[in-house]
Amino acid sequence: MTYLAERLFCSNPLCETILVSKLDRCPRCQESQHYCPNCQSSLRVLSRFCRNCGNILRKDYAVEHPDLRLRPSQNISVTVKSIFHLDWEIDLETEMTASPLIARGIIVLTLATGHILILDESDGQVRKELATNPPLSFTPIITDNLLIVATREGVIAFDLIAALYGNLSRGGLKAWQYQLNTDEQVTKPLLATIDQVIVVVKSNQRTKLIFLDKKTGKLQSDITLQTDKTTNLYLKGKELFIGTKNGAIIAVDITQAKIIASTQSGRGVDTNISPVSINNSLLFVLGDGQIWSCQTEELAANKLSLRAFGDTGGLLINALSANNKYLVVSHGFGIAVYDKYGKKVWDTQLDANSISSQALIVDDWVWVIDDSGIMFFFHIASSVPKLRQRVFQYAVSLPSILTQDRLICSNRLAQVKIFRLD
């Protein structure tokens, strides 16, 4: 173990200037710094382990990828007074439909124009700009050192260490590319497992799940589904769940790339709403606006069945979000909160504006931004917001993300605002 002073050297091995205190950026080499929550050592972005104590850094956050540590349950001590201190913001004046991806000191913005911006989380400085063919509709994934992006032509993996640290790493910028046929199109966000990347591809009114080798991008296997529309993928352990427009809910064993169970609901599944999980229940919204749950423990007997989850009473559901205690439903007039058994805790109409994006729920705290750009902050015990604050001017927001010490808000006009949780 090194002394405290040594831990606060600049994390750039070619610089190593003494930082004196925990600065966001080295004053000499301008390297962005982040810090180990365990021993406070300075770290370079993309570090997966603390260089001083070996602590594993769980700092990957993305809304669309349940394999990343989305909104980890953490004991945050939230004080309303100081929570919304604006740290930095960026306005790119273009279209962005994919929510940002945050991983170990960087923020990745995926723009519809085909550009991918990699920013430093500390102050928003652009570290690297990557270009692919537009449009880019989904948040990429970061797995190992690869940034994997779904484009019109196929799936491209960029070497992030090469992108950020240039010739300090091996190889070129593009690690691999999987080419799609001209009639194929990626329709849902990619998903990474330990050794695979799973792609949902639509072709001739059918949907295929394609399993690619994560290291090489080579096709390993595929599964054809008899539907043209599906929900986002939901990975739970080694089982992958997907709902289809024709009402089937399918469980796939990712180790064998094989369908192990399926069930048919009476109505089609609303494929615009991502499934969420509460403990052993996986929740889907059906075409009639009701929420149904699949019990994942039944999969041991290769069974899958559906049960009604509470009564949403005809809400126009736009998005679901959940932790292990609560389900938050974003709907046409506000949000509704349900407990893990499906009992409604409360429902509030806020300013009667629609809420399109997922709420952010961490322990007993909920953040949500309505479609006019006002952020509401609740404690789950009360339907009266503890704070309301305009964040954006009449732009539909993307789901907010809470990292270790920052709240990241963004919208479809590619405006990003970072609030520090001091």
Binding site: P13, E16, R48, F49, C50, N52, G54, N145
Partner: protein, 135 residues
């Protein structure tokens, strides 16, 4: 007092992905320890001529070590000598040190050698010292 001399940063041998500093204990990308101490013996049998222990470094950066004799009985540690009792070992190199009993008339001593190093996994290694029958 000057610290250890600065070594040039090196690419991690295991993952070949991450440039590591000599101040680092672990590769920040794959978590591998960057200094690894290896000892030729895990128990040291002390003959009248003494005993030799080899320390080797299979890590990426220099290994810094220091050794001393510990004993539960007061003053016993002074009966032993270690030469050298500290050093630095470049990667993939080794160094030997000699442990001797300075007072040959003493018997049935209980002692051990403590080796401290900058190996993050084994910052302290204890080697029991076993006495050969001393005439």
């Amino acid at each position: 007092m000057s610290g250890p001399e600065r070594e040039e940063p090196k690419l991690c041998q295991k993952c070949q992905e991450w440039l590591c500093s000599s101040k680092d204990a672990y590769c920040a990308y794959c978590g591998t320890a960057l200094v690894v101490i290896k000892l030729s013996e895990e128990n040291l049998v002390l003959s009248p001529a003494g005993a030799v222990l080899n320390i080797s470094n299979s890590g990426l950066f220099k290994l810094y070590w220091a050794a001393e004799v510990l004993s539960p009985e007061p003053g016993i540690a002074n009966y032993f000598s270690i030469r050298p009792d500290y050093g630095s070992i470049a990667p993939n190199n080794e160094q030997a040190f000699l442990v001797r009993l300075t007072n040959q008339k003493t018997k049935n001593l209980r002692a051990e050698i403590e080796i401290a190093s900058n190996d993050p996994h084994r910052p302290i290694v204890i080697i029991p010292l076993l006495m050969e029958e001393i005439a």
